[in-house]
Amino acid sequence: MAEEILTAETRLVGKEAARLDAVAKVRGQARYADDLSFPGMLFVKAIRADRPHARIITLDLSWAERHPRVVCVVTPEDIPGENVVPVIYRDMPLLAVGVVRYVGEPLALIGAETPEAAEEAAALAQVTYEDLPAVLDPLEAIREGAPQVAVPEAAEAGNIFTHMVIRKGDAERGFAEADVIVEGEYRTGYQEHAYLEPQGVIAVPEEGGMAIYGTLQCPFYVQNAVAAVLGLPLSKVRVVPTATGGGFGGKEDVPSQLAAMAAVVAAKSGRPAKLVYDRAEDIISTSKRHPGVIRYRTGTKRDGTLVAVEIEFYYNAGAYQTLSSAVLWRALVHAPGPYRIPHVKVDAYSVATNTVPCGAFRGFGSPQVIFAHESQMDELAGRLGMDPLELRRKNALREGDETATGQVLTESVGLPQAIERAAELCGWKGLRREVDEFNRQKKFRRRGVGISTVMYGVGMGAKAPLLDKAGAYLKLEADGSVTVAVGNTEMGQGATTVLAQIAAETLGVKLSDVQLAPVDTSRVPDSGPTVASRTTTVAGAAVLDAARKLRARVEAAARGFFGVDEVEISDSQVWPSGEPGKAVPLSEVAHWMWVHNWDLGATGWAEGAPVDWDPDTGLGKAYFVYAYACHIAEVEVDLLTGEVHVRRFWAVHDSGRIVNPALARGQVAGGIAQGIGYALMEELKSEGGRIVAPSFTAYHIPTSMDVPAEFVIEFVEAPYSGGPYGAKGLGEVPLMAAHAAVANAVSQATGGRLREYPALPERVLELVEGA
């Protein structure tokens, strides 16, 4: 992107425009998956395995079939194409054949006239099994003689799906040079997305193909999956996301599975088929954040300079690969943290177990290792007798530094500024004194202040650069309004508004003149997934590209219209340069273009800047750019009950240019809340491979009472030359930073060291007692 765009005065970019979709949402008019109906629509229910690992002996659906309102029953033999849910590998069947590998795995499908009938019929299915030994823990699954869970073709060895490394410098030598070394093992559990809208899709047969409507992040993934199970060319499958009630990664790959299920019922019955999960089915059968066992050893010089880190971690991937190899890669690259470290050794493993497949969740494998690296930093600070903020300040990556994968950061590194600004906002030194004072005075209450710093590689990165692309199509209507079509979705994060701002800014039109068309895979080329905090950056660049082309055409036309050499366009007005008095509404020029048969459409395309990576050493340019953040949390712990309350929170982010500050603040606040939940409350219990009590009654996410009353959120903007108007990504970063600041605050308050999430009261009391 040219220099001028980074510094240009903007009309709309950087301004707090209201969300384009807000009015429909506050009126209850936005249509989510379950809000849509089609004539003759059937309701789908999956028959699911209730064993973690077993051979299927018999599957008897005769009673289910006899239910008077059942229209069709689908078994693996009824799948017209391939019995697979294609993600990165093709190891996961749509419907299990021969063996089940986790509780909740789909075996067969019912299509019935009503949701109640589908449910009743599913309960009539009779399955007999021969149990196989199951393994539920990743460390047990990699032991010699453990039962084989992974489909062998999808695994590197035994139950190890994937093993990846970073080898930079010489860790052994690094530790030999270190004056202080800390070491620790950290454990994290599941985190459930808990998007408020459960998963749901509708498959509608149309003209020899299939249309899919649903709550989803990645329409092109769904298109691919449905085409595979139906044996259709991609051109006969069309995917149209509905309003989507939250995603957070949970609607990245999972909707492919739902859509494929609904599609095979629709194909067999010839009728539209709706599959909507209730909360329990959603929790039991969909992806979650990978539980992790994480070991760190970190060494510094006496002055706090980091010299070496050695990391080994195991993620419980569940029974099938799904996105685990990609999650593991992001975790690998992010494990050393946003620091200058000359000697780095990382071994990352994802392991198959007889549990529900884990997948994408905001942060994508990084929060687990961030918990560990930020704990290590505080443990080091303690041993060095150094202020934890000072230790981070000393080691934080700056422009020109080399990351742990040997990538030289040539631009847009706002981490040092973020740290300074966060320290300033909270009054770091004074805050620490205040807390000490409070702790001296109170007998049964303790406060603590915690800090975290993180980096985030924007986009898909060097493991999947082929997905880092996006298309856009812009159309100037004859009345001067503008329609924008993209292939990336709105799941609540505000993409449509931000993309509209970029289009309007670039074209010189009013924001109210721009409308985003509903996403439809038949409208734009494959634009990759809506993940990896990449939409503003990559889809935004595609919109920018199309808008520039369209603007050039409008300018050419306007020169003819006015008979002058130069024109200006702003705020939906057009005038000959230097003669603003002659301005006409853009609608007039647009109409003139329409009358004179001008091409009023323009396509745009963008791809991420080049990246590269050597799988043997883990070295290379992992991501095209990074976002950064520094979070500071103040907590209060009740020493009698172990309850933790987050009192205040300061968050400073560098995500490059912020296109819409109000929406960006909302992203940060929401991420902080999820981070608080991850660190303090969210625990999904399972026994024998079964998730017990899959509901919000047992799985607590933060309410309005669990978040601090005071949030201070700011942005330091280090513009990125490859992003539209200098923007980088933001969506995932707030969660990644928040939980670690909270965890460090809890440790500081209790005087213990939190090494396992979540910090439920029992665990906090143990910390207090052990301190």
């Binding site: 707090e16 009015v23 408020l196 309005s704 009472m705």
Partner: protein
């Protein structure tokens, strides 16, 4: 069985049965899908509607309990054909992200501000603690409620008229 009730200001009569939940009556039978189901077991508040002015979880309420009462859903909330001040406030403060929780929050807010037109931020947080939002972290929702309270207090006439014809 047939039940009669006032639905969004209009008296209606519908066929239902004792096993039917109010949320299904609203969404499936009456075809108004603004009321959302996030959990179906009383934990998320997305299904909040007003029955005789009181917030009720429509996933835990039997349809037949509407008999003889006034039921107000998000679709019935408007003012002079435009946005109700509460809706306007949610738009203006960016208290909406994915929007799935929004109808429930707005209905809960409506009930709160009727009872307490000038709530403190703490009162707002306490009142809304039965409504889950996974997107916003609640900050901008609390701001929306406080702004809505201001709008409503600033125009007492509007409030009175509103109570009669929601």
């Amino acid at each position: 069985m047939r039940i009669k009730f006032v639905f969004n200001g209009r008296e209606i009569e519908v066929e239902t049965h004792p096993g039917r939940r109010l949320i299904d009556l609203l969404r499936a039978d009456l075809g108004l899908t603004g009321t959302k189901e996030g959990c179906g077991e009383g934990e998320c508040g997305a299904c909040t509607v007003l029955v005789d002015g009181k917030p009720r979880l429509s996933c835990l309420t039997a349809a037949i309990q509407a008999e003889g009462r006034e039921v107000l859903t998000i679709e019935g909330l408007r003012e002079n054909g435009g946005l109700h001040p509460i809706q306007r406030a949610f738009v203006e403060t960016a208290g909406v992200q994915c929007g799935f929780c929004t109808p429930g929050f707005i209905m809960a807010t409506y009930a709160l501000l009727k009872e307490n037109p000038d709530p403190t931020p703490e009162e707002v947080r306490a009142w809304l603690s039965g409504n889950l939002c996974r997107c916003t972290g609640y900050q901008q929702i609390v701001e929306a409620v406080l702004l809505a309270a201001k709008y409503l207090r600033g125009d007492a006439l509007r409030v009175t008229r509103n109570e009669k014809t929601p």
